[in-house]
Symmetry: D3
Subunit: 132 residues, 6 copies
């Protein structure tokens, strides 16, 4: 039920192929997931997105596993089923334990609950929470 076809390797433009090559080299696997195959119709956006993702999700001060867990949290709140599945798989591949996953789901749900309470009640921000 895509709005575009999923491109197989034989149908790629040279620029899209170059991005796929870099995805494969970076991830050390031949597997390319459907997101990139759908995005490959637009090589410019494919490249920009992949480069941004490498920068944001690559080495930094937050550990890779935790980065994926934050990605899951956002994807759940946005209701993106594909993203939830792909990043849950990534988080597990990067070491997220089932116990960490259970806590993650509980935190996402708890935050959703209090988010909506606060919004319903129109609670004003306490002075102490503001940046000077």
């Amino acid at each position: 039920m895509t709005t575009v076809t999923l491109l197989d390797d034989a149908s790629l433009s040279p620029e899209a192929r170059a991005v796929f090559d870099d995805i494969r080299a970076t991830r050390k696997t031949d597997f390319i997931n459907n997101f990139w195959r759908a995005l490959a119709h637009d090589p410019k956006t494919l490249r920009r997105t992949w480069e941004s993702l490498k920068e944001v999700m690559g080495p930094g001060v937050i550990e890779p596993k935790v980065k994926e867990m934050i990605y899951i949290a956002v994807s759940v709140a946005h209701g993106c089923n594909y993203c939830i599945h792909s990043h849950t798989a990534s988080a597990r591949a990067k070491g997220m334990t089932e116990e960490e996953y259970r806590e993650l789901v509980a935190i996402i749900a708890m935050a959703s609950e209090t988010n909506r309470m606060v919004t319903a009640l129109g609670v004003p921000v306490d002075r102490v929470f503001e940046a000077v």
Copy 2:
């Protein structure tokens, strides 16, 4: 602009007061933020919410700072301004550095971007991402 008044300590029911006492004891501070003062009109929900929060955000396998960062991610995706401010303050109080915060914001934004691309394109979940 609340839909209810914010209760001061003198206006609390005995049950609400008991919850406030526990919040103060648990957090080792006399300060009670506005969320609890708005929720205090409903002592039963106040108690349940505080007990759940203690369970979910208390000691576990995910470190406290990271729990707050996940809370921020959800709150941003839900557009809860109060929650964003209170949990950003909490995350900082629990040790989140400014560099971690910058990465957090970048991840939330990146996830939002790809979430909407995936949704627009209707990308089907790859078989390998499904739980057996």
Copy 3:
């Protein structure tokens, strides 16, 4: 912080004035809230929206107070602060008690919590829940 000015009565087009007259007659009050004053720049949409609202929120099988409570629930989930405030005021004016309001907030929050759990886990719809 509107993107358009709020029109006072002297600035209305004849068509917008006619809608304001009907709002006043229907609600039996001279007061026109800001939403209609912002929308009055577009008399056609003003009319269609008011007519639709009268049809949807007018007499039916669901009692007026409950209709407003459902409106609040949607407005909270969409994070519309103005709508939350105006419909909470309407619900109270139509008889919602503070105890009903407290239960309403608790239900909205609970639903938000389980909504996100279900979404995180990707739970498939049970057969028995589908319409034949």
Copy 4:
């Protein structure tokens, strides 16, 4: 397409089994829907969620059928397909007529429409809508 397996009765931990027993006794049916089977991997969260749900959705001042209708409204705004289906089934089981259901859908849609108009125009909250 779950991120976890759905646990059958034979795979439950003793604590999860106890919760399932209480769900069955409370609902007076042997049927356990998929949500609980997915959540059962985390007995602590399973218990807390079920206890909260019993408290929030149990006897109170809002009638059970209306509670389910509010739950549906929130679930629609959050785009939770599973929740929409399960709570629409529950609302019908608790007496929601098809005419009430039609009005419910119309209200949810109408609220969504005006929510977004208000947000687009940045309408400021009228003084009279604020709690003193």
Copy 5:
């Protein structure tokens, strides 16, 4: 997985049939998509929705193709898979090129990214952006 059955032509009430006739005449096709078949259980809402849609999406100052593209943008942000598919088909039928579609998806995603950055940081509206 609908919550209501999809009505075939033989099952329509006279009022619903009249709306279907108008949809067919207006669109110059015999095809009626599933949305209207689900909504046909409620002839009053069916009529109001169709009349509103004709007014909003009909001839105006924004060209039809662009109207559909805006519809897609909203549907993506709301996560409505059906709406995304039906309006992407409509936009293409009204002349949206694949290059325009690619730019559309990129804009939607970019807006989502900066929306969430702004929300996370709590950026105050610049004076110059406010309507006088």
Copy 6:
């Protein structure tokens, strides 16, 4: 109520200053809006975001005014008040007329209404809407 301070020109790092210089040169104005001043704490993300925005919102097949209108649509659905104000100002600066703006608001609202109807009813995607 930001979570970070808004950096004035004197407080910028050299890399952030270079981005500000490019924003000023590209937009042919000395004015830098608050979004960039909040983001300037993170020069790397500032640069990436600005470069992406230039690519996505710069010359293409969709006219600049329409690009801003799509941006507004997404921002409304996400409830980002700042973004709504800044992009409504941009759209007007790029030629959006008040009549186009009124149609835009009506389309956003109409899409929101049918999005939620479709979601409530769980309407399945028609075969003809799927990409081959």
